[in-house]
């Protein structure tokens, strides 16, 4: 009896610790001056720098390219690594996994110079490609495992029916590996939406900034004195899609995290 009430008390205290900051920021974002409910903080965000809509658009560009790119790249590579026996496949897989070993900081200094040579410096597309590279080990690992769990008889049956190889991938296998595709897309979204350091190093033009960069500039006072109400509203905007996706795609989250424990 005593044991279970102590346990309950600890559980609740911990819940306050984890939930408290989130509730505080939600509450603060809709309070303005004496008004207990106002969207003034959100509308202030439109006047900082280029306005929040520009930063949301930039972030969405990076997100869309990263998600689409990660899914396409890992769909084909995952298929090849599971279904096709080819020379060097093991080397390729180890090469992809070795991305996990290398700290992003070690890559960013040469990338800063190298992307300029590719004419991808200070560009949202360049940033997106780097994001696809970061996600590559997780995405390919995930898709290879997804294909592995689909019986080979399915391919053979389709082959006998005269289906082409691409037809098999798109019509027969894709529905079967859909959970894997959603997981790859989900984690690519989260990575691209939230990335900070890479965007900080690679983007130097204020009009190309993503949401995290804009918020850090806001707090550094680059747009005049620090407006904490606007910061709170910005945090809500930045966290809301992630929280929403978490509730919608909860089971993919857990699946991805336990498989993605390989993710550094």
């Amino acid at each position: 009896m005593i044991r279970s009430s102590i346990k309950m008390a600890i559980s609740i205290l911990l819940a306050i610790f984890f939930l408290g900051p989130i509730l505080w920021v939600l509450w603060g974002s809709v309070r303005y001056g004496d008004a207990s409910f106002s969207f003034q903080n959100f509308s202030s965000l439109f006047i900082y720098g280029e306005g929040i809509s520009t930063y949301i658009r930039n972030t969405l560009i990076v997100v869309i390219i990263t998600v689409t790119g990660s899914v396409i790249v890992s769909l084909f590579a995952g298929y090849a690594l599971d279904r096709i026996k080819f020379k060097g496949s093991k080397l390729l897989f180890i090469g992809i996994l070795s991305i996990l070993m290398v700290p992003h900081a070690s890559l960013l200094i040469p990338l800063f110079i190298w992307l300029n040579k590719l004419h991808l410096g200070n560009s949202l597309i360049g940033l997106s490609f780097v994001m696809i590279m970061y996600q590559l080990p997780f995405s390919v690992f995930m898709m290879r495992n997804s294909f592995e769990s689909v019986p080979k008889e399915l391919d053979e049956a389709a082959m006998i029916d005269g289906c082409s190889r691409l037809g098999i991938i798109f019509k027969v296998l894709m529905p079967a590996v859909r959970p894997g595709i959603i997981t790859v897309g989900l984690f690519a979204f989260l990575a691209a939406w939230n990335e900070f350091i890479t965007a900080l190093i690679l983007l130097n033009d204020g009009s190309k900034f993503t949401i995290p960069l804009m918020l850090v500039n806001l707090v550094r006072g680059d747009f005049g004195s620090v407006d904490f109400g606007a910061l709170q509203a910005g945090i809500v905007i930045s966290a809301a899609p992630c929280v929403a996706l978490f509730f919608i795609l909860q089971r993919y989250f857990v699946g991805g995290f336990s498989a993605g424990a390989i993710k550094g």
């Binding site: 346990k7 559980s11 911990l14 610790f17 984890f18 939930l19 900051p21 505080w24 920021v25 603060g28 890992s74 084909f76 090849a80 690594l81 599971d82 096709i84 026996k85 080819f86 020379k87 060097g88 390729l92 992809i96 996994l97 991305i99 070993m101 290398v102 700290p103 900081a105 200094i109 040469p110 990338l111 780097v130 590279m133 769990s149 080979k152 190889r165 989260l190 990335e195 900070f196 350091i197 190093i201 995290p212 918020l215 850090v216 707090v219 904490f228 910061l231 945090i235 966290a239 929280v243 996706l245 978490f246 857990v254 699946g255 995290f257 336990s258 498989a259 424990a261 390989i262 550094g264």
Partner: protein, 313 residues
């Protein structure tokens, strides 16, 4: 798809060389399908990695017209760079603190929510996990406001008890604040990994221990802890690696201050590159960091494998 058991996910198994029952054999088609992945791997990973090694052997000013080779100056200078040595010491200290806190708290959380009334522990699990879904920079910004003496509630609450901490004003409190934020952001993540480790332990082992009259502490010590070994090392490898490359939590919360007391290795590297404009010596530092991390990972994987081969499994 994903399995809940982290033992199955250890790298040893994932890279198992002989996988039975593969499809057809065709090197050309294999590489054709892998081509997009190869392009990404080559252009955005292997080339930059090679570049970084080349840069580290040269005097490479950011805007310099030419880049004379000065090997091994960039490397020998590292050991004389006081800022780097201080940041190395600080990063190791931070990593040690965060490892102990995250491992023990996440294990505690996992034990707390693993049993009991289904519904309540499900809700608690969701609450503890919620911070994980926010981005790291978002979480850092959130704590910047939360700990702010004017608008944040933390200072006001502690004022009631007669305390008036300047959360980011002194070296120790700045470190404490960052550790607090990182704990908030990551405990739920490691709780989930710990949970899948706990769930992988067969029920009947506990049942027979109960029959033998083992109490809770002994059950944990002789059953749970040993069987969780690979889960612990998985968590530890992730936390250690993450700690050694810490950057944005400090960049956003403390800016390396006060008085450069919270400058991490990665922050030093970026300052060398983008404030001192010494790309060559920054590259040398990042190569050293990379080698250190790879060695750390290999060492730890070796230890895990040794344990596993000792098992009856």
């Amino acid at each position: 798809m994903a399995t809940a058991n982290p033992n199955v996910l250890s790298r040893k198994n994932s890279m198992r060389p002989s996988r039975p029952k593969r499809g057809f054999r065709s090197t050309g088609i294999g590489w054709l399908f892998s081509a997009p992945a190869v392009v990404v791997l080559l252009f955005f990973f292997i080339v930059p990695l090679g570049y970084s090694v080349v840069m580290s052997t040269k005097d490479w000013p950011l805007l310099g017209p030419d880049y004379p080779t000065n090997f091994p100056t960039n490397y020998t200078q590292i050991s004389e760079n006081e800022l780097f040595l201080n940041s190395l010491f600080f990063t190791v200290k931070y990593t040690a603190i965060i490892s102990v806190i995250l491992i023990s708290l996440s294990l505690g959380l996992a034990l707390l929510v693993q049993e009991g009334k289904q519904r309540a522990s499900g809700i608690l699990r969701t609450i503890y996990f919620l911070p994980v879904v926010t981005g790291l920079s978002t979480a850092a910004l959130l704590f910047l406001g939360f700990l702010n003496p004017t608008i944040g509630p933390m200072t006001r609450i502690l004022n009631l008890f007669g305390m008036d901490p300047d959360w980011l004003g002194t070296p120790n409190l700045a470190l404490t604040s960052t550790v607090l934020m990182m704990t908030w952001r990551f405990a739920g993540f490691y709780m989930v990994i710990m949970l899948s480790g706990l769930q992988a332990i067969p029920r009947d082992i506990y049942e027979s221990a109960a029959v033998d009259g083992a109490n809770r502490i002994n059950t944990f010590r002789y059953i749970t802890a040993p069987l969780m070994k690979s889960t612990f090392s998985l968590c530890l490898i992730l936390i250690l690696t993450g700690g050694m490359v810490a950057f944005e939590q400090f960049y956003i919360l403390t800016g390396g201050g006060p008085d450069n007391s919270t400058v991490t290795i990665v922050m030093t590297i970026f300052r060398e590159a983008f404030s001192q404009f010494e790309m060559g010596s920054a590259a040398a530092m990042s190569v050293v960091l990379l080698i250190a991390l790879v060695m750390m990972n290999i060492l730890q994987l070796r230890l895990v494998r040794k344990d596993e081969s000792g098992d009856t499994r």
